[in-house]
Amino acid sequence: MPEDTESRRRWMGILARASHGAIQARLGAAPALPPHTRLRGPETGLVMVRGRAGGDGAAFNLSEMTVTRCAVTLHGGNVGHAYVAGRDRQQAELAAALDGALQDATLRPALMATVIEPLAAAEAEAVAREARKAAATRVQFFTMANMR
């Protein structure tokens, strides 16, 4: 996979998992986003999540989930896309506009530093906090092994 596809996948994921409020708060320190026109949405619908037991095996339908998607075009010609879980239309539009702006090599460094990296750090912190809370109540089943 080309490197820019990989890094775009990363920022789209971070924007999809962040809330609208969190993105908006980081945008205060960022350069102004270029104006955009909506191509599609934001619109909410259902997607079927499919899975495979054990990662192989036949695909089965796991369940449907609510997804909001948006596509915008920036006046430079870049098209930004966002697919976010839930029904927050503002988040989807903002994430799409940011995706479009991040494809512009002149805007990318500043936006990465002021928006994406802080959001990634906050997300990692939240994951670590949950892991610590879970670890505190962890039960170790070693009794049987030690009794022999």
């Binding site: 191509l39 599609r40 619109e43 075009t73």
Partner: protein, 188 residues
């Protein structure tokens, strides 16, 4: 640059669907669409609106409209692209393919016949062809400029295959008219 589709997707698609329904129920009557749509060249407003309304992921599309329109149609309609002989909808902005080469359905499933969306130079009711048949009390007159030579005889030939055949939606600017397969056309 990618252009937007309908500004109000639900309302615009409903209005356009109604116009197409009226056009097909009254063959040769010209319907006028009032939509704010900026489709890519060479698509006219009516052509683009009809495609946005009728074509989706379950209807293979074949078209001759070029690269910009191709990416626009793929994005907004989400339809798979197919060869002319396998498409459910065929868009012709230039010279249309021969009617006999389009899917005509079968005796059991005549609804599988293709719909040809044909962009013409202009559509005017009241003069030109004399249309008779279902949905027309006495006769309707339709003047479609830019139709290919020999169209009338091609159309007469496909009437022999009824109920199989191809339906045509004519588009020009913001105007839509239809020629369902049951309609008889005579030179005026």
């Amino acid at each position: 640059m990618m252009r937007p589709g309908f500004t109000a997707p639900v309302e615009n698609a409903q209005a356009c669907f109604r116009a197409v329904l009226d056009a097909i129920s009254r063959p040769g009557r010209v319907q006028i669409l009032t939509l704010g749509l900026t489709p890519p060249a060479p698509l006219d407003i009516a052509t683009a609106a009809v495609l946005l309304t009728l074509v989706d992921a379950e209807t293979p599309l074949s078209h001759d409209a070029g690269a910009e329109a191709d990416s626009w149609l793929r994005f907004h309609c989400g339809s798979p692209m197919a060869a002319v002989g396998e498409a459910a909808f065929v868009l012709a902005t230039g010279k249309p393919p021969a009617l006999a080469g389009l899917p005509a359905g079968s005796e059991e499933e005549p609804e599988r016949g293709a719909t040809l969306v044909l962009q013409v130079a202009s559509l005017e009711a009241g003069t030109g062809w004399r249309l008779t048949g279902p949905g027309i009390e006495h006769e309707h007159r339709l003047n479609a400029r830019g139709m290919p030579a020999g169209f009338i005889s091609e159309w007469a030939a496909q009437r022999g295959r009824f109920p199989c055949g191809v339906d045509i939606i004519l588009c020009a600017g913001d105007r839509v008219a239809a020629l369902p397969r049951g309609t008889r056309i005579e030179e005026g």
